[in-house]
Each structure stands twice: as C-alpha cells, then as structure tokens.
C-alpha cells in the first residue's frame, strides 16, 4: 500500500501530468497521420524521454501509444487509410460505414470501445503481472533462456505469413546484437578496432532507423499523393453508442479478452490482435454477410482488442523483460537505460514504478475520452497537414534524436545504415519486428544461454531438468517442430502443381 501511495505521488506531480498531456496530444497526432505509426511515435519519443526521470518517461510512452492506437481509427473512417497498422483490420469496414453516413456512430464506437478495451487490458495487467512476478522470482538462467527463446519463436510464429523470412530476420537481429563487448567474457567482437562499436549497435538509433527512417523513405517517393477526406460533417459521436453496447457487449468482452491474450504473448501486439479478433467476429457472427458493407459488429471486437492488447503487452515486458510487441521492445530498452532492469525483481525493489505504470495506464485511458473527442472534431484539420512539410521535419527529428542517444555522429550513422537495411528488408518481404526483438533480447538470450551452458557443462538435457524450464523448453521445441512441419507441408503443397 505504501508503494501505491508513493506511486500516486510520483504520477500526480504537475510536471508528470504535463508530460502526459503533451505526450497524449503527440500520440493522437502521430496516430491520426497515415504513414506515421504508434511504434514510430515511441521511437521518436525515446530520445526525449531519455532525459527524464523514469516515471514521466514511462508516462509519456504509455500515453502516446494508447492514444496513437485509438487515433489510427480516425483516418481509417475518413480516408480508408489506417493511421496505424493496428487499425488496418477494419479500415475498409469503417470507411464503408462512413460512406453510408454512419461516420458519427463509427467514430463514437471506436472511441468508447477503445477506452473500454484499454481498461480491460489495464485491469488484467494489474491482476496478472504481480502474480506472475511472484512465480518468476524463482526462475534461473534456464527458465530465462527458454522464455527468451519462446518469446522470439512466438514473434515469428504469430506475426509472419512467411516463417522462413521471419526466422532470417530474427537471426539477423541476433547477429547484429553480437557486435560489441560480449556479455560473458568481455571480449570485443566484430568491432574492427573501433571504439564506438565497442558499445554495440545502440538500440534506439537502430529502432529509429528501422521504424522511422524506412517509413520516411517510403513516404518520400509518394509525397505528392493527396488524401481525399470524406466531405461529411461530424456531429454528435456518442449518439447510439449505448445501443451498440447493449447489442454487442459480448463482442466487446470477447475482443478485449482476445486482445489481452494476444498482447500478452511475446512478439504479437495490437495489429495482430485486431486482425484475429475481426476474423473471429466474422466467423461467429449471426450476420456474416453484413461484414464488408459497413457493419459495426466486427469493429466493436477489433477496436476493443487492439487497445487491450496494448496494455497486455506490458505483462511479459514488466515481469520477464520479454517484449509483448515492438512498442514494449522499445520500452524495455528505455527501462534498461534507466537502470531498472525489467524482471520480477523490479516488483520487489521498485514496486512504486510498477504501480506508477498502472496508474498512468488508467489515466491515459481516461484522458482518451476528451482528447479523442477533440481529435475527432479536428480530424479534418489534422489530416490537412501537408506531408511535404511534415516529412522533412520528422527526418530532422530522427537525426537529432539518434544523435542525442550517443551524443555523437555514431548514432546518426547507425540510424542511416539500419534505416536503409530496414527499408530493403521491407521491400523484400522480411518483417522488421523479429529483427528488433532479436536486437533487444539478444543479450539476455546469450547471457542466459552461456550461463546455462557453463552450469550444465554442455549437457543439453540439463536445460530440461527444472520443472518450469522443462515445460517451457518442451513448448518451444514443439512450436519449432510445428513450424518446420508447416513449412514442410507448405513446400509440398506448393511443389505439387509444378
């Protein structure tokens, strides 16, 4: 209880609240702009939060991402372009509704169910994280090795249509992470005598490059594309939302629950949650034929799911230090920089920070109501911000942000090189998220792997001896087997016709 009061004191500070409101406005804007994603918002925020205390830093990230995930729904309805990938699942449906003249209802439902879904996610985060942390306190290097490996495996299994390219991307990320001083022996690897490479590939500039610069490069070649905003007046968005809730309360619960589950799985986040819950909604709907014609049902599921997934992704991040999605991957980087190594010990040593995160999440979801309403009302002005002015300014922001992380041109160089690599990867169908997870989890994976190897004296069976480690190991091996089998069967199927 003391920790809770300390946490409340930390959050309800004027400076912190100011940061939260500013971050919320920033998140709304970035989320609502097509081409700027929630992950990008986080990557751009980190250089700023780097200079803050832990609580405002986490507050800024939590708030900005929560807003961005909701705000992505706005251009989906007005432009048919999702503002963030998390809204992509129902952008067509939203647009169809808007064309039918139900834009008020659509935006109202998106706002209300985003808030409610977010609240469900937060509630489960508050309930589950401390319990899991208690169990995790007994984990040794074996458990952590399997957890990290399982997390990385899930990232591939869940997120990509092409497992081979997912694995390749992951291994590539892990290999990049090997640059620098190795974690067990302290020997410099792949540094070519450079002092700067000794510190390794700085994670934040790499993130900014892969998520922001590569997006800017794609934007630069289509800068003249004009967005055609639906010419409809936005009226009272809350009219009729209550009757939607009464009719589809089960969809809301199902979507939120699914969102929590998918969000809590390492590697899969809000966008996957939205896709899957939308598909499930259609599958079990009494009126599946209405889907695609501007039907609210699937939107209720999916818009609740993406916001609940966002909060739930923090469960593995806080408890095990394993990111639930690419946003929490950045958060873990931030936590390490702040000297708060994520893991069960944080719950014992710094419980006030954990409670502070909980409080901020609740505040952020409450703040979403007025700010979301304001964003919807001013959506047309936001969407009119010219891209040819915005893109160069964001580029400058990326430049300064990555410079600030190392206080040298080394950061900018990393950003530039990894930005080009990220762009090439996307062009060739390699997903970026596994590479980033590899970069974040690489050190933890290697450290626990090496420690375990030394403890086990090279005997692989010892990796399965402890009960929880055994279960985790078995599950990991099973998922790999499943993936290989699927890949093998898939190959057979594709080879058969030729």
């Amino acid at each position: 209880m003391d920790a809770f009061i300390t946490a409340a004191g930390l959050v309800l500070d004027l400076n912190v609240l100011w940061v939260i409101v500013a971050a919320a406005a920033f998140g709304m804007f970035v989320g609502a702009m097509p081409g700027l994603t929630a992950t990008m918002a986080t990557a751009l925020l980190v250089p700023v939060t780097f200079f803050m205390d832990p609580v405002p830093a986490l507050g800024a990230i939590v708030t900005a991402t929560a807003m961005a995930i909701f705000a992505g729904d706005i251009p989906a309805a007005l432009l048919r372009i999702p503002g963030t990938p998390a809204s992509a699942a129902y952008a067509d449906e939203s647009y169809a509704m808007a064309k039918k003249g139900e834009i008020d209802l659509n935006l109202g439902v998106n706002l209300v169910f985003s808030v409610l879904g977010g609240m469900v996610g937060v509630a489960l985060l508050i309930l589950c994280a401390p319990v899991l942390a208690e169990a995790a306190i007994n984990f040794s290097s074996f458990e952590y090795f399997w957890l990290a490996l399982l997390g990385l495996t899930c990232a591939i299994f869940m997120t990509t249509g092409d497992p081979l390219k997912g694995v390749t991307s992951l291994v590539f990320g892990l290999l990049i992470n090997c640059v620098g001083i190795d974690p067990t022996a302290g020997h410099p690897r792949f540094t070519f005598g450079s002092v700067e490479l000794l510190q390794g590939i700085s994670f934040i500039p790499a993130m900014i490059g892969m998520f922001a610069l590569s997006e800017l490069l794609r934007g630069a070649v289509s800068v003249d594309e004009r967005n055609v905003v639906l010419a409809q007046k936005i009226g009272n968005i809350f009219h009729g939302v209550w009757s939607v809730f009464k009719k589809y309360w089960f969809n809301f619960l199902r979507g939120s629950a699914l969102g929590v589950f998918i969000g809590a799985l390492p590697g899969a986040g809000a966008d996957i949650a939205a896709w899957i819950s939308f598909a499930i909604s259609k599958r079990f709907s009494k009126t599946p034929e209405k889907f695609g014609t501007g039907h609210i049902e699937g939107i209720v599921d999916a818009t609740s799911a993406n916001n609940s997934a966002l909060a739930a992704a923090w469960i593995p991040a806080l408890v095990f230090g394993i990111p639930g999605d690419s946003i929490t991957a950045i958060v873990i980087g931030v936590l390490y920089m702040k000297g708060m190594n994520p893991g069960p010990t944080v719950f014992l040593q710094n419980p006030q920070f954990i409670y502070a995160v909980f409080i901020i999440f609740v505040l952020a979801n409450l703040l979403m109501f007025p700010l979301g309403w304001a964003a919807i009302k001013s959506a047309k002005q936001i969407l009119r911000v010219p891209r040819n002015v915005l893109l160069p300014i964001i580029l400058l922001f990326c430049l300064v942000g990555s410079y600030a992380m190392t206080n040298s041109f080394y950061g900018v160089l990393i950003m530039l090189v990894l930005g080009i690599i990220g762009w090439l990867m996307e062009e060739n169908g390699f997903p970026i998220a596994p590479a980033i997870l590899g970069l974040v989890l690489g050190e933890m994976l290697e450290q626990n792997f090496m420690t375990s190897m030394i403890k086990a004296d090279g005997n692989a069976l010892v990796f399965f001896e402890r009960p929880i480690a055994g279960v985790l190991g078995a599950v990991t091996v099973l998922v790999w087997g499943l993936m290989l089998w699927r890949g093998f069967m898939g190959r057979k199927a594709t080879l058969a016709p030729t």
Binding site: L175, L396, F409, N428
Partner: protein, 157 residues
C-alpha cells in the same frame, strides 16, 4: 527494389560466413569450451541454413520466370528517385560536415532543400525551415542539454 530470394540468400550466406570466419580469432578459455565465439557461430550457422533455403526458393521462383531484381514503379520517375536519395543524402551531409559547420546551418540547409524539392512555396519553405530548426535546437540543446555541434557558431559568437 525487390531482389530474387537467391540473391538475398547469397548475401546472407556471405555475411554469415564472414562473421564465422572472424570468430576464429576470438580467445578460448582453458577448461571451458564455451567462449565468446560460440553464440555468433550458432547464429551464423542458422543464418547460413536460412540463406540456403532462401536460395533454393529463389532459384525455383527464377525458373518459373521471376526476374533477378525488380524495381518498384517509382524508380522510373527520376524526381522520385531524387527525393529518395535526398533523404539519405541529407543525413550523410550532416554526418560529414555537421561537426565543422554546426547543427543550425546544416539543418536549415537540409530542411530548405527538401521543402523546395517537395514543392513547398519558397517563402513558407524559408520560414518553416528556420523556425523548425530553431525550435528543435531549443528543445534538444537547451531543454534536454544535448551537445549539438556548434560548428561555425563558435567563431561568430
């Protein structure tokens, strides 16, 4: 730019092979066979396996008529190609001369060049470039105390 997976695979194999070759110089520790070279070697081997599978797949696609390299539609419009390299060139310019010339002048030049190329009207381009540069400089250098390079400003002030 979409390359055939055989090319992607080959690049990855070469990269992994080079990294594995470099691990041979890493020291081993007496009585403990797991040194700093183990993890990169495991990963390098995995990457080579991925590369081989990608090459296999790429060659199959090649046989069924896919080209070696496919350029996206925008690459046939020169001004879009310039836009693309303008972004990269701006960053490179900052890395190369940022230290001697300083953040403020380089940032103004970068923004102005891009604004004008992207078709922002000259007057608003100049105003936005100057204002944005000074706001970002104020925010990072003054508020967050990032030592942005001062460059020629040192000589003037």
């Amino acid at each position: 730019m979409r390359a055939n997976d055989a090319i992607n695979g080959l690049i990855l194999i070469l990269l992994a092979a080079a990294m594995i070759a470099m691990t041979s110089t890493f020291p081993a520790f007496p009585g403990q066979p797991y040194g700093p070279s183990l993890f990169p070697r495991v990963l390098g081997t995995l990457l080579i396996i991925c590369g081989v599978l990608l090459m296999w797949r790429g060659l199959a696609a090649r046989r069924s008529g896919e080209g070696w390299v496919e350029m996206a539609a925008w690459t046939r419009q020169p001004w879009r190609v310039v836009s693309f390299f303008l972004m990269l060139g701006s960053l490179l310019l900052y890395i190369l001369v940022g230290d001697t010339i300083g953040f403020i002048p380089v940032a103004i030049v970068i923004l102005l060049a891009m604004f004008l190329w992207f078709g922002v009207r000259p007057l608003s381009a100049v105003v936005t470039a100057v204002v944005a540069t000074f706001v970002i400089h104020w925010f990072f250098a003054t508020m967050l105390r990032v030592p942005l390079p001062r460059g020629v400003l040192d000589a003037i002030l």
